[in-house]
Symmetry: C2
DNA sequence: TAGATTGTTAATCGATTAACAATC
DNA sequence: TAGATTGTTAATCGATTAACAATC
């Protein structure tokens, strides 16, 4: 196994290679050049990314599609189900609950939490909304590994603290803050207003260039 | 004005500096060191990012908070309202419509579109859902500069094509595809399953390390 | 064998960090 | 003036690309 350091962005690229492979059922093999065309990454990039994890290709032929798919699943750890706790059952939270799109990849929201008493006890999409106090036990009982934070900004840090205390180490955060957390936690931030501001910067630049 | 190339990630950092400044009302000046503490970026990074756009600081004192906020607003182009078209009025789309969180920064969804006849004509959060055929005229009449794509994957490329044809150049895409688009379009992808797969990779690694 | 394509090394590119003279 | 902090240059780090020997 290689010991070279793996670039951060290699991982999301692997996901995109996988997606491309799903649509490549025509032949048994695929070359880095073909994967490059499908994903817009360079062929050298494709080969480099893959060799961080082993030698999966056959010179002269390319990569066996069936095998490569299995390999990527294994690398990403998406071969099995991963249980998710949803923190916050507001508009966004409930939309995520209803969005069964990622269930196919094995991700499943198996529990939802809110601090609003009027929501606790209700069921959405077959998932019961519970009070935050139940978090630690439910995490344990349902083998939950990931939390999605979909609460307002002003209570987000508090929510993250509770999630961490419950033993969860992988967090997808939709609240517009950068939560503080100890080492060993992996927090990915999806920050709508920052993305919109990037677009605004792009528009500003464009208008200036005229 | 500097002509050095500006790193891609400088822009989202500027947004985060701005957020930090909003909470710094104690004194008139703030140093790069203090901004560093608030944002977790290095002080050198803070200074470097700012000098791409000019010299705003005073040696020995730091940056005047009021001035720096104005400067960043100006750089990002967020000083004025930016109108948004929402494409897709499903669960996620309607959640975004209801989420007024980014209205404060001047971003406003002023029109929504769907191809589902049962939705067209209805109003959510004061916004009328229209058919896609109305897109070009509404974009013109309402001065829309940004589109948010919140449609299923299988119709996302088609939606993006129509958006581009309507003259919009800045797109925030929530569909799990990488849309193809001509140069001159700025498309930012928010891809839930890819983020979840990154978390899965993290969990996989962690479990191996034990 | 000839042609194709891998895996890998070296070169390049881009971004961050460290250090410090300039300056308020 | 002495102390603090900027703006900038050079060094470092990290990631991507180009090129090609190895190999199926």
């Amino acid at each position: 196994m290689h010991k070279e350091k793996i670039p951060k962005l290699t991982i999301p690229r692997l996901s995109l290679y996988y997606r491309a492979l799903l649509e490549s059922r025509e032949s048994a093999f695929i070359s880095s050049e073909e994967l490059s065309k499908l994903t817009q990454f360079s062929a050298a990039q494709v080969r480099k990314d893959l060799t961080y994890f082993g030698e999966f290709g056959t010179p002269g032929k390319g990569y066996r599609i069936v095998e490569l798919k299995e390999v990527i699943l294994k690398i990403l750890g998406t071969g099995r189900q991963r249980n998710i706790a949803l923190i916050g059952a507001g508009n966004l939270g409930l939309a995520l609950l209803a969005y069964r799109g990622f269930a196919v990849q094995g991700f499943r929201i198996v529990a939802a939490f809110d601090s609003n008493l009027s929501k606790i006890g209700k069921t959405f999409e077959g998932v019961l909304i519970r009070g935050m106090n139940e978090l630690p036990q439910v995490v344990r009982n349902k083998n939950i590994e990931i939390a999605i934070i979909a609460v307002p900004a002003n209570v987000a840090q508090e929510a993250v603290n509770k999630v961490i205390k419950s033993g969860i180490t992988a967090i997808l955060n939709f609240a517009p803050i950068r939560p503080k957390a100890p080492k060993g936690e992996e927090i990915l931030n999806i920050d709508l207003s920052i993305e919109l501001e990037r677009l605004s910067y792009f528009l500003k630049r464009k208008s200036k260039k005229v």
